[in-house]
Subunit: 227 residues, 2 copies
Amino acid sequence: MAIVSSLVSLPAAFALTCDLPSAVEHLASRTHYHKGDTIYYQDGPAEYGYRIVTGAARECALLADGRRQVLDFLMPGDVFGFCAPGVHRFSGEIIAEATMVARYPRHRVEMLAESDPEVARRLRQLAFEAIGRLQTRMTVLSRTTALEKVSTFLLEMADRSASNAKNSIALPMSRYDIADYLALSVETVSRTLTALRQRRAITFTGARLVSIIDRGLLQWCSENCAL
Amino acid sequence: MAIVSSLVSLPAAFALTCDLPSAVEHLASRTHYHKGDTIYYQDGPAEYGYRIVTGAARECALLADGRRQVLDFLMPGDVFGFCAPGVHRFSGEIIAEATMVARYPRHRVEMLAESDPEVARRLRQLAFEAIGRLQTRMTVLSRTTALEKVSTFLLEMADRSASNAKNSIALPMSRYDIADYLALSVETVSRTLTALRQRRAITFTGARLVSIIDRGLLQWCSENCAL
DNA sequence: CGATCGTTTGAGGTTCCTCAACAAGTGTGG
DNA sequence: CCACACTTGTTGAGGAACCTCAAACGATCG
């Protein structure tokens, strides 16, 4: 399995979006990955932070008994890997075909943060946002039925993925990924999607192309659950 | 319901433990709370960060349908409330009778971080630790049976609470709190604890006083699940 | 074309939730 | 002091939701 397809150090002028302060972006190098590539490995040294430029990835953990857990899906603009304490507790894996990832040497960013309050502030802000996202995710994982989980997931993806078409979702991940993200079995994810389709909350253009028909119904399902 | 029992601004010399840089501790004021008090409210303004000095608290969310979710238990030394974006997304509630909480004005701490790299670094570090804790918690919530959840919970509490007696746990929270923390029903929590007692993994000195007899068995239950 | 992967659907079993009752501890007021 | 309500914790019975096992179908790829 190819780990790194091509490593290109581009000058910062090529930056599509400057999510981080320019002083940090100057430290970045960009890599083009293919589906299935691993950016970093669980228990491997955590020397870099990352940002998705285009494409998509997942952060996942392999449990002792072989089960897999998807902790987060990473979409364009998402910054990750900065908070790892020495070693990565999870692995970062590419799920979309043409994915571009910006890489930042953590040690040098840390040094930058020591002298540049703006960098420090931005890092803090990113960490706080990550905490908020994780807390929201916890409220979804806990206390929810399959219908609530899947509905919430679709709304989340509609929000995060397409900036233009709010009701058209191109899911970059498989049903297995969704299942491991929501702590459900693949079959339950599939059945729940079918149920949502039969209730005319969504339609499928393809297996991974979802259109939201009735957003109100979807939101109702994501909160209220009981059908 | 009493919200704030007594508000005492103590000089930093009274600090029991200085978890934050002394420049930050100088901004702290300390409050003594009683069981049931609320430190801050969901959707209320987030002007302060907090640290538990003694006692225990919980951070919890009230869902639309009335269900409650405990996002975290807060034990002595735990810093929280710094990452709230303007308003608190959850409420902070005291669960132990005599609980002392240190309070830090967020705005002034932020200003301090702008000029003092050490403060900024410590805040970053705290945020990163919080992220790690949340990620661990997610792996517990997902993909686990009741036995796994409760076993993991007991081990976590044994680790966090008592510094001296590693195998004796004084749980400050009720079974309801545990249930809402693990996303289980109270009955399941109770039954699972009984099961662990019958298997001689733990014993009860009281309803909230647990002793670990067979830590290996408990760890096995927390990972392997299937009995 | 065969093989593998991803997705969907069906049947059966297990876990956990819900409803219900009971016991122990605590506080209140007569 | 005791009756009473209330809280907290435990246990039982029944049912619903979800997981597991199994099979079938379409798509992709060598």
